[in-house]
Symmetry: C2
Subunit: 372 residues, 2 copies
């Protein structure tokens, strides 16, 4: 089944909208958050658990899977869905960001990017064409164009060069893609310069992709700047296509972006924080390693019905973390993804009822710092 | 409900027997293997998963839980069953072995053992009385006497001294235990000397405990010697009481011990091997990291119906291990405990049908060594 998207409702008081994303592996109600399963697994969790938390689409990464186990291995094994036993949809990031952030001796040319593997130092040339081949071999439902992105801060000139190269590569990705079913998303770049963001958005939308990502954010720029870039870009993207802000973010970031008309998100925050012992709760974040939880028989979040909160005390979770027991990582990951899943459901309800702006102010931003 | 045990059937061709162990937290069909949950969790697994694999009793460790989170914390939290959310029975090892194997600056006197914590170097005096207090605070269904054990090799004189001290401590444990419900097991020592094993067994059985363990094995002695010690000891223990060989062992070890009349086992082997990528299968052990599994679409064990073998390829499990993904540890642990659980069920069926000796020869001992 070919990729599709429809907007099903709009918030009367903001740019937020409800949508339905259709893929060969089921439908996804948007706004949606995608748990990160970089290497073909959402860290610590079984696919049944991710599904049980209400998620219907996860993110995997073409760069990592290209290096190991290799996209041809995954193709031979019947594709990534079968490989990782995930019945829902899969979006793969192209690897542009990973090449940028993980590799050494990276050299970007118009042809593509030459880099050394972060695993064994071997040399690779990643081109837009190879990027499509990898993601199609994997069998993704949504594939991302290879992008050239910059860090922060970066000069306007450098940001422009990277953004224009991203557009040229997007055109080649569009031509190289063979399959009919997967959706192909282009990635708007332009760093923190709204004029560059505009140029990028306009040139990409003229090529007509199945969806548009806003990339190169959450790389060190001030939060306010990030929101401004989303605000400057989202209205330039076609109403009828899904909009995806990559690598974002905190609950507040997500609500802000939804308000500005964004439909899709991914971020390591809930899963990575979980493994560090930081839990999102209805009354702010909890640092479970702290001594104050030692004898606490209560749940991490009384308002949560996840496995952790329904069956275990704060005291037990703290014990698991102090003992470095993997099961603690599982329970915390379940909890944080439960929190994010519930938040996205609440966001969708709020949009349906035209009260997203009211919902936004109910999110607690209290954070419990670690003990010294 | 007070601890109890009854032998329900006997193998006509060996000393093996079927039994039913009764505790305040349910019944356990013997011969039984107890997964090791040292710190109040079977590493990587949820209690529901352990239960789903058919296990009804797990092992925890008084030494570890005394140090962290502390037995008083567990008592305040409602006991270990509630703390770790395990509905079945719990046997706690006294910590004698851990004091012997993990601590520094250990000094054993008739009063007890002074040691430094392996966590923070703090000094502690573990006495038989404290050992009972800890295990009763935890709420174990079966508690073990504090024992004094030796390494291997050890002189006859040293082994005798440790064994006699173990008996003296067992007597004090019996007097110190307050609760009526938990079963109290004594531990036969005597290293590899059958005369000392006999003395230990005779002096302990004259005190009438609820069950008897054979300790101090699997500490480096030849396998044949271990079997001989079980053979020399088991017949000296009362028919009406459960017999438990501690820290044993491989599938072959377990079948041998069952044949000699042993009812209970615990061992880190299935769970630790799982985390190293070594899987028990119906056709011998598999080392999943090996390159030969890279493109293997088949299951780890076609004869197994666990989650790993029903939903994932060898290729995927290898990928998870190479990427150090925790989910690989989970799947491998599920599988190895599934293997052990099925083996114990088959052992019980074989005893019921008087064919345990035939069953023993069907176990594959093939092992796949790691690639260089």
């Amino acid at each position: 089944m070919a990729f599709g998207f429809e907007v099903t409702a709009r918030d009367r008081r903001s740019q937020a909208r409800l949508g339905l994303l259709k893929t060969s592996h089921g439908e996804v109600a948007t706004p949606a958050f995608m748990p990160v399963g970089t290497r073909g697994v959402v860290k610590t969790l079984a696919p049944e658990e991710v599904w049980g938390l209400g998620y219907r689409m996860v993110l995997a990464n073409a760069y990592h899977l290209y290096l190991r186990p290799g996209h041809e291995t995954i193709r031979r094994l019947g594709g990534l869905h079968r490989f990782m036993n995930w019945p829902g949809a899969i979006l793969t990031d192209s690897g542009g960001f990973q090449v940028f952030s993980l590799t050494r001796l990276r050299k970007v040319t118009d042809e593509g990017v030459i880099f050394q593997s972060h695993i064994d130092g071997s040399s690779h040339l990643f081109t837009p064409e190879l990027c499509m081949e990898v993601q199609e071999a994997i069998g993704s439902d949504v594939i991302m164009c290879l992008d050239d992105l910059t860090g922060y801060p970066v000069s306007w000139e450098e940001a422009r060069a990277a953004s224009e190269r991203t557009t040229a590569w997007a055109r080649r990705c569009r031509e190289a893609k063979k399959g009919v079913d997967p959706g192909l998303f282009a990635i708007v770049q332009g760093s923190v310069f709204s004029d560059l963001r505009r140029q990028s958005a306009e040139s990409l939308t003229s090529l007509d992709f199945d969806g548009y990502a806003i990339g190169g954010l959450s790389v060190g720029e001030p939060r306010q700047t990030m929101v401004e870039m989303i605000e400057a870009t989202a209205p330039l993207l076609p109403e009828s296509r899904p909009r995806y802000v990559m690598g974002v973010g905190t609950p507040q970031d997500i609500v802000d972006a939804v308000r500005l008309g964004v439909d899709l998100f991914d971020c390591v925050l809930p899963t990575r924080n979980a493994r560090n012992g930081t839990l999102f709760t209805s009354v702010g974040s909890v640092n479970i390693r702290n001594a104050r939880h030692k004898d606490d028989a209560g749940p991490v979040d009384p308002a949560c019905s996840c496995l952790l909160c329904s069956a275990y005390s704060r005291s037990y979770l703290r014990h698991l973390f102090l003992e470095r027991e993997i099961y603690g990582h599982r329970l915390a990951t379940m909890h944080n993804l439960s929190y994010y899943g519930r938040m996205m459901a609440e966001i969708r309800s709020a949009i349906r009822e035209n009260r997203l702006l009211d919902y936004a102010v109910t999110l607690s931003t209290d954070t419990e710092e670690p003990d010294d």
